[in-house]
Structures are given as structure tokens and as C-alpha cells.
Amino acid sequence: MFEDLRDLYQQVILDRGRKPHHGRRLEVFDAEARGDNPMCGDRVQVFVRRDGEAVAEVGFEARGCAISIASADLMAEAVIGKTADEIAELTTAFTGMARTGNGGAPQLATLRPLAGVHEYPSRIKCATLPWMALKAAMAGKGNASSE
């Protein structure tokens, strides 16, 4: 019945939405921030541990839909080893992909399963919310809102 939704709900999204690999508070972290989507109540808290210039580990606690949890989980993997500047660039690329569906850039490879959200205007924020929280954490701010 939902064959045309497989674009949005690819298997990796269903899997990660159900059982995220990084869905936990880090025991030791250097930065953290919360992201809220006031319109639907989704919330994600992101924890970042650094190793010198680079990010060593990311964990998160979230309440939300499959899209937002899978997005947080794939993000946690994608940013490991990256510097703040590299992460800022990736965030821009990801946000662009979520809005337009255009996920051609090589660095988006593992995040590409989320490109399908661009067809669902109200779901784009689900995918970008963890990235907003990560951005806030990297900038030393406590909170981000998806509005």
C-alpha cells in the first residue's frame, strides 16, 4: 500500500528510527544542546565529545518520529573525525538536500537516504532538527529551535 513512501521511509530509516546506534547520553562530553520543534513537540538533545580540533563522538537523546531519530543517528556517524568548519559545511549541504532533494555531493553519501523528505514540507524540520541542535552545541549555545 505504501510503495510510494519507500523513498521517504527507506529501510535504513526504519531501522535506525527503531534502533538508533548512537541514541544515548555520552558519559563524558564537551558540549551539548537541545533542539525543539515547537509545532509538533519533537525534541533532541545532542552530546559532543571532542578530540583536539575534531569531534570524537556524538550521542543523543530524542523523542520524535522515525525521520528525526534516524537523522540524528546518521548525523552522529557522519560527523565523527570532522572539525567544526567541516561540520558547518556538512550542515549546510544536508539542509540544502533536505529542502531540495539534491544530494549529489560526495560527503552526503551516508545521509542520502534522508533526501526523500524534501517532498514533505512539514517533515523537513524533522530531518534538520538534530543538525540544528548540533550546530548550537558546536557554537556553545544551549538551545536551538526548528522554526
Binding site: 500500500m1 513512501l5 520524535g64 525521520i67 524533522c126
Partner: protein, 413 residues
Amino acid sequence: MNAISKPAFDVARIRADFPILAEKIRGKDLVFLDSAASAQKPRVVIDAMVHAMEHQYANVHRGLHWMSERTTEAYEDVRDSIARLLNAPDRSNIVITANSTASFNLVAQSYGRSVLKPGQAVLISQMEHHANLVPWQMLRDASGVELRIAPITDAGELDMAAYEALLADGKVGLVSVTHMSNVLGTYTPAERIIQIAHAHGARVMLDASQSVVHRRIDVQALDVDFLAFTGHKLYGPTGIGVLYAKRELLEAMPPVNGGGDMISSVSYERSTWAQVPHKFEAGTPAILEGIGLNAAIKYVEAIGFDAIAAHEATLTEHALARLSAIEGLTIIGHPQDRGGVISFTLKGAHAHDVATLLDRQGIAVRAGHHCAEPLMHRLGLESTARASFGLYTTMAEIDALADTLDQVRVFFK
């Protein structure tokens, strides 16, 4: 259920009155189960607004010319219709606002800041829409009026014993509670709520945003002090809401907004206010919206609340039966007296994902906290999916919802 004893209600004929119901969503028939958020508009409402814009429009109240006089009559007629709908004593009991939210803010800012005193309390319930919560919270923070919360039971009904206990110390000046929950579908026992409040010296404001759509409300029989509803849920346009209040309360209340139309005379030193209800209506009113809402009220009255209530009861009964048969689906709240608003959760699937999957089949439901975050908290939930019914909802649409939900369950298993 005895079909014979119910008033005739021809849903096919009613659907034909709503042009939008013929729409397709991505090739699928629209199944609109989001009327509690905002209802669709019948042809007569569209026509009334178009007629005004094409044939009879000017600003109202101050014009001495034909267009203005006729537009004033057409607009002001909505006040009579609202008074009739609510069985208000007089048209001057009816204040036109922008929506329900504006009606609550008006009472909080006018009555709340002048008649209520620090040390007194406002009592709301655990199942209020933010519109009947945040204005009182802002009043509390600005003026020291206490805010009390009456709990609900696990079934999703107002806990009447706790409610009465919260009134016992006589400090509550105003009770403001919903007449029908937009999340649980619960009808609250307005008559008893009001009797108990009055016995303890408290005034009562009812949030009729949901209830006015489904049941006949008689403000005089209820002896309610204030009541709010919003045009767009009653098949009318956006941009217009209603505040009913007893005359002596309106007289005692200062205006909140200043400007044209609400004055009697203006000088730099001192201005005086127009008579009730105009002193609460500053600026050019929602003329086209009043004309549209008037048509909506007449449309609903012509169908009749007996027929509407019976239709709603039939739909709700069927929906509860079909939905509760779905594996992993939990219906939120089991109130005795309930209407056509049903919240539910589905195991393994977040409400947003449920809504997106349903939407792919053309089925519109709402998902989220439904502007009632503290209620969600009380229920131990973050969000629910919600199906809600209107005049035009059919049994077949409820079957489509249930059948599709069963597939959603499989998808996320």
C-alpha cells in the same frame, strides 16, 4: 443504535454542499478527518462572502450611503444569529473577536486585571487548549492572580471531587474550562460545573470552541458567565471569533483595545467608550467574516443540532469500535460523554509517521500535542494522532481510516 428514531440526515446531500470534498490528494479521494483543527466551508458561506465582495460592500457603522448602510445591516445580522444560536438574552451580549484565543485574552486582560484581585484565583482544568491556559498564566505572572489546575481522571474526565475541593476556600473568582476537549473528545458536565462554581462565588467561562459545532448550547439555561468560540471550526471563515458574556459583566469591564468604533467621544484629556458590546470592538470589524459566519450559522441551524449530534454519535461509536480492534492501537481517554474527536497512539510508530502514511492515502489527521502540552504530560505522552469528524464525515471514511491504519501498523512492524 436505532436508525429510525434518528432525524433524517443525508450525508451525501451535505457533502455536495462542500466543494472541497471533491478534491483528490495525489490521485486519492480526500478523507478529511481534521475538522477539529478547522472545518471546511459550505457553498453558502463562500457565496455569502463572494456576494458581499461583488455586490454589496463598504465600511460599516459610520457610512451614510447605500453600500455602507446595507453592509452594516448584513454584518450586524451575525450578532443576532449568534445570540439565537446560543440563546443569549440580547445581541449586546455578543462581542465579535478575532478567534477563540482572542476571546480568552480579552477576558483575561479586561476582567482578569480589573475585577479579579491578587489573592483571588483562576481555576482551569488539566485538559485545556493553550488558548485557555496561556492567557491566565500571563495574568498570573503580571498581576498575582493565582492559577489552579483541576485534575482529570484516567478516563479523561474532569475529576469533580477534586474540582469542588479546589473551590472550597472561596478564593476562586473565575473557573475557565473546556466544554469539549479537542484531544480526548470529552464533553464536560457544564451545568454541574457552573452550579458548583456559582455556589462557591466563582464566575464560569466555557471554551465552546469544539462543543458549539456539535451540540445546542443554551447560555441562559446553563447560566454561564462567559463563553468563547471560533468561526472557522463552525464551518465559517477564519479571522472571526465570539465572546458571549452576561451584560453586567461586560458593563463592568474596561475596554482592552482603543481606536475607532469603540468610542463615544474623544478628546486628548479624556475619551468615553461606546456602549456594550462595541466598546470591546476597536477598528474596522471583520465585515466579510461576519457575513460568512452568519451564513455558516444559518446553515448549521437548518440542518439542526439533533441531527448533527445523532450523526456524530453514530460516527464516533463506529470509529471507536473499528479503531480499538486494531492491534497495537491505543485510544486515549474513555470518557462517558464524548464526541467525534479521537486521539490514539500506534505501537512502534510515532504519530507523525502515522500521519504521513495516512496522508499518502489522502487521509488527513492531525499529529502532535494539539496545543495541549500539559495534557500530554498528564497522559505520559509526547504526541498522539487525532481523527476528528464533521457534518460531512461518512462511515466509509472511518472504514478507510481503520483499514489504512492496519497497513501502517504492518509497515512499521
